[in-house]
């Protein structure tokens, strides 16, 4: 597979997953705010902090009201990570490598792009319940995954796309957990109250993990939720699960049937997988959840850079070309 094509497929996977995760964040936060006691202000600021784009946001506005935050995360073209930007980039990557996609995948993605673009042109969701819109985005992206699942050959391209998807998902799940850090309780005395409970529940719902969590762990306990979302071996959106799958993708790409590594990307993903595999949640709490997640995200970025170095760097005859996506 051409390096340039591999690069585009990898990023196609990342951007699609990013758009879907943003739709989840927003959907769940919207729901959560409906449940808040009347005297508490709605909290939209934590979402912006968790996405890591608060600096950009503050350049545009210092009000973290519902409308501005939803606009920023959904439609704002200046925000490179907004849903609209992510879907536009996903489609642009798809357009460049269209000959590598199935007809159905391309047409469905193109349709999704036009769907979001039409709304983006209106600049806001208006009177419509935004949850309907977010639901639709999630469903369309899940449909794309389903289409790919049953039509795409399990060759290199498939593994690069899965790799992008799983790394992005690991990053976004960790960011969701981090929302809780930013989500302020009125005072420390509120820990363990129904409001705290609501927050943790919302967090689980944002990654569609609520029912599974209940069945596996029972009571809503902060440390159990953290363990579930970061370390669980079986849940497909836990950070560990995603990193393990990413490692598998890299092994499929290099043809590495053994454990260990054949290149620096496999090495760094293997290191992280093994650390997560043998970590107890108590150790995480000890380091500090927010601090731990910061470190985790740095490592995920490193893995992505190593993937770029190993597979996507092309020697231009004119100059060295680097991936400009992030």
């Amino acid at each position: 597979m051409l390096s340039r094509v591999g690069n585009s497929i990898y990023w196609l996977g990342r951007y699609l997953e990013r758009a879907e995760n943003y739709a989840r964040f927003l959907d769940v936060n919207f729901n959560l705010m409906l449940d808040l006691p009347q005297d508490l202000k709605a909290q939209w600021e934590p979402l912006v902090y968790a996405t890591g784009d608060h600096e950009l946001y503050l350049k545009k506005s210092n009000q973290f009201d519902r409308k501005s935050v939803i606009y920023f995360l959904t439609f704002d073209e200046d925000n490179p990570n907004s849903i609209f930007s992510s879907i536009s980039y996903a489609r642009e990557n798809a357009r460049v490598i269209r000959e590598n996609l199935t007809k159905e995948t391309w047409e469905k993605l193109n349709e999704l792009y036009h769907f979001v673009k039409k709304r983006a042109e209106k600049k806001e969701l208006g009177k419509e319940d935004p949850r309907v819109f977010f639901e639709s985005i999630k469903n369309q992206i899940l449909l794309l995954y389903g289409l790919a699942d049953s039509t795409v050959a399990r060759t290199e391209g498939w593994h690069f796309r899965q790799l992008g998807m799983f790394l992005e998902r690991a990053d976004k799940t960790s960011r969701m957990v981090d929302v809780k850090y930013h989500m302020l309780l009125p005072s420390p005395n509120w820990v363990g109250t129904p409001l705290d409970f609501l927050h943790w529940t919302a967090l689980l719902k944002s990654v569609t993990a609520f029912n599974t969590y209940r069945r596996l762990y029972g009571n809503i306990e902060p440390s159990a939720v953290v363990e579930f979302l970061l370390l669980n071996k079986f849940f497909p959106r836990s950070v560990f699960f995603c990193i393990k799958e990413a490692e598998r993708c890299l092994h499929n790409i290099s043809g590495n049937k053994e454990t260990g590594f054949r290149n620096s990307a496999e090495k760094s993903v293997g290191e992280l997988r093994s650390k997560l595999e043998f970590t107890d949640v108590e150790e995480i709490i000890e380091v500090g959840l927010h601090e731990y997640i910061d470190q985790l995200q740095i490592k995920i970025n490193q893995i992505s850079n190593r993937i770029n170095d190993n597979f996507f760097q092309i020697k231009d005859n004119f100059s060295i070309q680097n991936s400009v996506q992030e």
């Binding site: 051409l2 591999g6 357009r95 047409e107 193109n110 036009h114 690069f160 005859n317």
Partner: protein, 483 residues
Amino acid sequence: MDTNLYHPKGFYDEMFSSDGACRPHYCDFLEILKKTSAKKMAHLQHSANKTQVAMGMTFNVYHDNQGVEKILHLDIVPRIIAHAEWKHLEAGLKQRIYALNLFIHDMYNDQKALKDKIIPKDLILGSKDYLKACQGLIPPKDIWCHITGTDLVKDKDGEYYILEDNLRCPSGVSYMLESREIIKTAYPDLFNKLGVMPVSDYPAKLLKMLQFISNKDRPVVGVLTPGIYNSAYFEHSYLALQMGVELVSGVDLITKGKKVYMQTTKGLEQIDVLYRRIDDTFLDPLTFNPHSLLGVPGIFEAYKAGNIALANAPGTGIADDKAVYAYVPRLIKYYLGEEPILNNVPTYLCREEKDRQYVLDHIEDLVVKETNAAGGYGMLIGPKSTQEEHAKFRQLIKDNPTNYIAQPTLSLSTVPTWTEDGLEPRHVDLRPYILYGEDIEVIPGALTRVALKKGSLVVNSSQGGGSKDTWVLYSDEGNTPSI
């Protein structure tokens, strides 16, 4: 729908003769039209447009702020060509391509036609399309023009005239193929009934031809594109997909030891054949335009060494210069010893004094074209222009006569076309595609371009033209022959 309301207005109409009778090869289609309501037609047109957007069947328009992607409007009324008429066209096109290929070969090798004064030396050797780097070159299997899209029009006498030979990177074939798929859904019953020849095997034929020009048994083939911002990117990607080959751009390729390699996730892989959709002069900055960032440095050396085959061969542009065009009938006679089967449009060469004087005297009746412009730019349509414009072009011609040719204005034939006012005659041209591999093959279909503006003669997509699906019939007896 009441088709009696349709009037060809004094032009040659492909469907109706001047007395209003339906031409025989269109009769079955007319029956369908009569049974179709205007509402249904509008609906068919609407869904055709929607399908094009959904498929991302778009082209880019330069200098247009309305967003870069546009669809090429596809009219739902097909252009139908009778079998016998097609056979005539086919024979004429084959003859022309044989002759042009010999001509290109001659120009870069023995230059017999120059020595025999069939065509002026300075016209060829002074042209910017003449690539000195190709002198003495013999391309694989002696083929230069592997893919051609020839433009033809029909005048009021009902005769075809060759308008232009496109031997560089003719585009539009993907529209021919995709339009057929869309139109098939609009008239599901008709194709079999009429016996419309299929075009869908074009990519397979193209691939076979590309493999043929390599010396290897299982050559690695690719399509070379300038990239996503090129107006024909959709087509490049479409053809690569349909052939199942890599779509590469300059940055994907690297040359080493006079061989060309693709940069893959597993390292370098040699590539043997490129269907290049980059202009000659951008192909290799080491040989041609040193400022080009699109091409592959060193690819021309690899080509000369026989390590990669290129289609079309570099240098073919010399044969589709608008001034050379005027000599093609003579070239056919010279190289093949045959009378041309298809006519040229009579052409006045401003470089020749007698012709120039005629053009200056009759500019208001003529179409003046720049010899090296494309896309309907740099031309004057005499009868539709003002006196100031006439004066301006007279001066342009006097200042630089070799840069201009002129032709009488033709009354392009019309085909019924679906418009806001129902069925209306609109002018069309015809671009069939010809492949030259083991033999020459004319694909039984074409891109029919249609001038959508009422009365307009300009069919270029960049100037508000649209397209029609083109149906070539298996036979004129109304039956599909048993195969």
